[in-house]
């Protein structure tokens, strides 16, 4: 297949090549699912194709893509919240069924210790930390994406780290 069939400016390919790792890491760490992360990346980069003005400026493009990922992941988070609520009702009603489905989930997603610890954080702490650590965004940029002040970002990231440290040390003890 020749490239002329889906003519894309070279700057898109360049942006994709350079930014995919960061966008994928952010998506994966926020959602905790490889499948959803790929879905989010797909959506975000498709949207980027229409934004020719952003493709040349990689920093701008990254910030913009993470903003898109944040919006998409928030939708996913809400859906997962509803599923969790249904799941806990199910656990309450029929423990045996719930246990087996939980084991199934564990098999499907072999999560790392870090991902497990991140999953335990509430979204409002997890998202700023992930944007910082895996997206490399500044506090100001994170504040703009989440519509919160810079000092709020600072507090949330600190709390996320505190909880994460605790969860990770517990996890390490559990493993060893």
């Amino acid at each position: 297949m020749s490239n002329t069939e889906y003519a894309r400016p070279p700057s898109f390919d360049e942006a994709y090549e350079t930014l995919f790792p960061a966008i994928y890491r952010v998506s994966l760490r926020v959602t905790g699912s490889r499948e959803i992360a790929e879905e989010l990346c797909h959506e975000a980069f498709i949207k980027l194709m229409d934004r020719k003005d952003l493709q040349a400026d990689l920093d701008q493009a990254k910030f913009w893509l993470i903003r898109v990922v944040k919006n998409l992941s928030l939708n996913y988070e809400k859906r997962r919240g509803r599923e969790r609520a249904a799941y806990s009702r199910l656990t309450h009603l029929a423990p045996s069924v719930a246990e087996s489905s939980e084991k199934q989930v564990m098999r499907e997603e072999t999560r790392t210790l870090v991902q497990h610890a991140l999953d335990k954080l509430p979204y409002n702490l997890r998202a700023p930390l992930v944007f910082r650590e895996y997206g490399g965004l500044s506090y100001r940029e994170i504040g703009s994406i989440l519509h919160i002040s810079e000092s709020n970002v600072k507090v949330r990231i600190f709390r996320a780290r505190e909880r994460l440290e605790k969860a990770l040390s517990e996890g390490e003890e559990y493993v060893s």
Binding site: M1, E5, Y6, R8, Y16, F20, P21, Y24, R25, L28, R34, A37, E38, C41, H42, F45, I46, M49, T112, L113, V114, Q115, R132, E133, Y134, S138, Y139, K154, V155, I157, F158, R159, R161, E162, L164, E165, L168
Partner: protein, 185 residues
Amino acid sequence: MCPERDILSAYVDGEVPSPWDRAIADHVAGCESCRSVTERLEHTRRTLRADDPFDWQGARERVRLRIATRVAAPIPVFVRPTIWRRQVSIPLPVAVLAAGLVIALGITLATSLTRSNFGMVRITKAPAGTEIQIAAPISDLESLLAKMGGDSSQESVLTLPKNVRLVPVGEPRMGLEGDFSGKKP
């Protein structure tokens, strides 16, 4: 006085502005407890960054392929006209009246269609001169002739619709049947 721990977290991120960051660096160098806090924060950061998803290259290629195929053949998006999504509330009496009107119209239309002589054979009975319309299609000669021959004492005139094209096939059956039913010997 030790800085707040969230300030130390921001310091680790390089998010403390210029004159203050040096002051914190000096403090941390001389304060055991603050150094321990920053070391733990650094450790958490390193753990997070060391945990790299092993197959991001695979994900990159899969997503690249999906984007390429999607751009080559964009999926048509069906846009539903908004008018069908709009909910219109009708008061119950009006709704009943409208339904009644639709049914009445339907019945009238159906009756007029049955009564129309489109494609039907008209038969005029001789004595009274009255025209009876028999609801039998022209293709169904058997039933047509049966109806004509019901009353053999009377003469019947058969009028075919103007647009009928008759094709002579086989024996002249019509004449035979007509003679048989119309004028019984």
